[in-house]
């Protein structure tokens, strides 16, 4: 037994040390630094500095690729902040991150992708790991046990990204790409793709795991916290490609049912935010400009009905 453990340690210790060094000591390469996740800092700054009449949108890329905040501003005379970035950050982290910037009378609209309600998705993926290692290292200590457990398996992936980015750097294109750090306007909407042709979008392959009841609790907890700061929280359903909706209707209906049973304020129905495949840009949750306009108009109508009556 001793001999066995000794040999296991002889392999494990150098391996873990090397992995630790690559992940935490090797700096991110230029491709990584140019990636949209690095906009998190600017988005947080916008949250921090925008004052009065704020409406904050929290969610993944269904928001960043699916809103025209200027229209909302012009129509409702409020200050929209699109905090949507990437679903891989996990709903839990999105709310943790947002909660430090909540101010009195804020309206917070949460639009989580449906995957956030299933399996372990809400605890974050490699995007969360990248964010807490390289972008906001101080956030590493704020994660809970489930989040650590969720991001640990992505350590090799982050190590691979860092090594390949540093060993084989790719020249950064001068033009701003759709997933670049600079692809956001001052409200936080991704706007680069508004002028680009749509790509073929295949339906989502699968929603992994069973319904995660913890997510409703996380949302309710966030609502209570926001209410204690005199802010209001609403949940809105994300935009989704029609083919993907048809494929995962039972999962989506389950989310709707559970949300409606909770103490959360729900705006509208999932069906209202189903978009024809021709309105999608390059993923099941990303809209092209025409889709963005339709969704924004619908959101404005829904906000007028429920939030700004």
């Amino acid at each position: 037994m001793k001999k066995f453990l000794l040999k296991i340690l002889l392999i494990a210790i150098p391996t873990i040390i090397a992995l630790y060094l690559v992940v935490f000591w090797v700096p991110p390469g230029s491709t990584q630094k140019n990636f949209m996740l690095y906009a998190l800092l600017e988005k947080n700054q916008t949250l921090d500095t925008t004052s009065k009449h704020r409406i904050i949108f929290v969610g993944g890329s269904n928001l960043s690729f699916g809103l025209d905040s200027k229209k909302i501003k012009d129509s409702l005379q409020i200050n929209p902040i699109n905090n949507g970035l990437h679903a891989g950050l996990g709903l839990k982290f999105m709310l943790q991150n947002c909660s430090q910037f909540i101010k009195e009378k804020d309206i917070i609209i949460i639009s989580p992708e449906y995957e956030q309600f299933y399996g372990n998705y809400c605890n974050g993926n490699v995007e969360l790991l990248t964010s807490v290692v390289d972008i906001i290292p101080s956030a590493l200590n704020t994660l809970d046990f489930d989040q650590y457990l969720s991001i640990i398996p992505f350590l090799p992936k982050l190590a691979q990204m860092k090594l390949s980015d540093n060993l084989f750097p790719i020249a950064i294109n001068k033009e701003i790409g759709i997933y670049d750090k600079k692809s956001f306007n001052s409200f936080g909407d991704t706007y680069i793709h508004w002028t680009l042709p749509s790509q073929k979008v295949y339906p989502y392959k699968q929603i992994e795991g069973s319904f995660n009841h913890e997510v409703i609790g996380i949302l309710e907890e966030f609502q209570n916290f926001s209410n204690s700061k005199n802010a209001r929280v609403f949940i809105i359903f994300p935009c989704i490609q029609k083919t993907s909706y048809n494929k995962f209707q039972s999962n989506i209906k389950e989310v709707e049912k559970r949300l409606k049973k909770s103490k959360l304020n729900i705006i509208s129905t999932p069906e209202r935010y189903i978009f024809d495949d021709t309105l999608m840009f390059n993923s099941q949750y990303h809209l092209n400009k025409k889709g963005v306009d339709i969704r924004t108009t619908k959101i404005i109508e829904d906000l007028k009905k429920t939030v700004y009556q």
Binding site: M1, K3, F4, K7, I11, P14, T15, A18, L19, L149, I152, P153, F154, P156, K157, A159, Q160, L163, F168, Y202, E208, S210, S250
Partner: protein, 486 residues
């Protein structure tokens, strides 16, 4: 829970540690509970289906043993109907219904039978076949019925081989649950080596190759014949690394706890004929079909036309076992045809080989077998029959163009847009070569025996190389094992 996930790593460490910490008396219970947890990590509700067939087969086994001639058969039939029935409902119902709708449409009729909105329970075909082998072996008098319900459940549910085999026989596995396995350094390290090698094949090779294969096979019309041929060859290695990788991990995991599972792969792409290929590929399934279908049909001890029919039927059913889709049936039929044609032309080919003095060129035999197997994989991998026919036609008609490109080294990889960057493409080829070289060097020895013959320093360098390759070259997208869908 996938073998290539962090979840499994924690599960495996916990279960193995507990296994060696508790008394032998309670180990069956630990393994049964952990196997239930392992299975429920996919879709929890489906454990009920497994439960129902376990109860039926458990009582059927005892009843078969106690009964006299005629009643024996009745109980066996009940057990077989229960197992095949579950398989038919969950795997084939919608497929049959689909084809019925198509047929009725020809007569301008609507199909009144509703579709079932159900998911296929993971690994259903595997544990159904394992359960069937239990009642059949009792019926044949080769195995005593297991009285301990927990041990019998474990025979069907043993987590290392629950979802993708190897499909075990009761004579090989059941008695092992009663053995008291001690902590054995050599056995454990041999199991770990096998797990590492399996994981390497899965995450470093198979999942890397799948990037290119998925890209090309998802839109075959956008690719030329060379790209389709590359993707097909890549898939040939992908499916081997994926499935044999899983088998290695299953056998390694079981070995650590003291269980010996049967060998499932034996360097299949080194086969010199299709017949030999089926003795080396998915051995536990081929032998299952041989023992429980081919031989009862009469095997080769019948008139030649009937023998050919037996071969064809077995391979057709083997194709259907893999999936409820015409692509799998055609894949099975192709292998059946290969074997029949191989037998029909055997004497003629032998003469030609003698005249041309190429009988000793094993390489040509290996190459032609490999190409035939690869061609059949097109039907296994393609999404639809139409797509498979399109790909095979384009490859066959494009052979002159492919050969010309190879001869003149005239291709622009980047322009082919295969989804893998060129360093990754070259790395993939290098990894395949390394794997095949290891197979070639190990020869008929098991990988573990071959490995232990290496000098100490080389062994340790290899340990680190494999572990670090898994970490730094692995594709960690939680990609499922191909055979999980069956």
């Amino acid at each position: 829970m996938l073998f290539n996930s962090f979840h499994f790593l924690l599960f495996f460490i916990l279960v193995t540690t507990l296994y060696f910490s508790i008394s032998h008396k309670w180990r069956w219970l630990l393994l049964l509970v952990s196997s239930c947890y392992f299975y429920m990590a996919f879709v929890p509700i489906y454990i009920l289906i497994l439960g129902v067939t376990i109860v039926i087969d458990y009582f059927a086994g005892i009843s078969i043993e106690k009964a006299t001639d005629k009643r024996k058969k009745v109980f066996l039939i009940i057990s077989l109907i229960a197992n095949i029935g579950v398989l038919a409902i969950f795997k084939y119902y919608n497929f049959i219904n689909d084809n019925l709708s198509f047929l009725l449409k020809g007569f301008a009729l609507d199909n009144p039978i509703p579709y079932l909105s159900i998911l296929l329970p993971v690994g259903l075909s595997f544990h159904t076949f394992q359960a069937m082998s239990y009642t059949i072996e009792i019926y044949r008098g080769n195995q005593k019925a297991e009285r301990h319900f927990g041990i019998y459940s474990l025979y069907v549910m043993f987590y290392p081989q629950l979802v993708a085999g190897p499909i075990e026989r009761p004579q090989n596995l059941l008695y092992q649950f009663r053995q008291n396995h001690q902590f054995d350094y050599d056995r454990i390290t041999s199991g770990l080596r096998l797990i590492a090698w399996g994981l390497f094949k899965k995450v470093v090779i198979a999942d890397r190759l799948s990037i290119l294969v998925d890209k090309v096979y998802s839109s075959p019309s956008q690719h030329d014949s060379s790209s389709l041929a590359i993707a097909t060859i890549f898939f040939t290695f992908q499916i081997f690394c994926d499935f044999s990788g899983y088998s290695d991990m299953a056998i390694g995991t079981a070995r650590i706890m003291g269980f010996n599972l049967m060998k499932n792969f034996d360097r299949p792409y080194h086969s010199k004929s299709i017949d030999e290929f089926w003795k080396r590929w998915h051995i536990s399934l081929s032998t299952w079909f041989k023992d429980y279908l081919y031989i009862p049909l009469g095997g080769n001890r019948v008139a030649i036309p009937r023998w050919y029919l037996n071969l064809f039927v077995v391979f057709l059913i083997s194709g259907l076992w893999h999936g409820a889709n015409w692509t799998f049936i055609i894949w099975g039929a192709l292998h059946g045809l290969y074997l029949i044609l191989g037998n029909m032309t055997s004497a003629f080919r032998h003469k030609i080989n003698k005249v041309l003095h190429i009988d000793k060129f094993n390489f040509l035999k290996i190459l032609s077998t490999f190409l035939l197997v690869s061609f059949a994989w097109i039907f296994f991998r393609a999404d639809t029959t139409i797509s498979a026919l399109y790909i095979s036609k384009k490859i066959v008609l494009g052979i002159p163009e492919i050969l010309q490109k190879i001869a003149t080294f005239n291709y622009n990889y980047e322009a082919m847009n295969l989804g893998l960057k060129s360093p990754d493409f070259l790395l993939s080829i290098l990894l395949i070569l390394i794997m095949e070289m290891v197979h070639w060097l190990s020869g008929k020895n098991s990988l573990s025996t071959f490995f232990m013959k290496l000098p100490f320093g080389v062994r340790w360098v290899t340990y680190f190389t494999i572990v670090w390759a898994i970490i730094y070259l692995g594709v960690f997208e939680n990609r499922q094992f191909i055979y999980f869908q069956f």
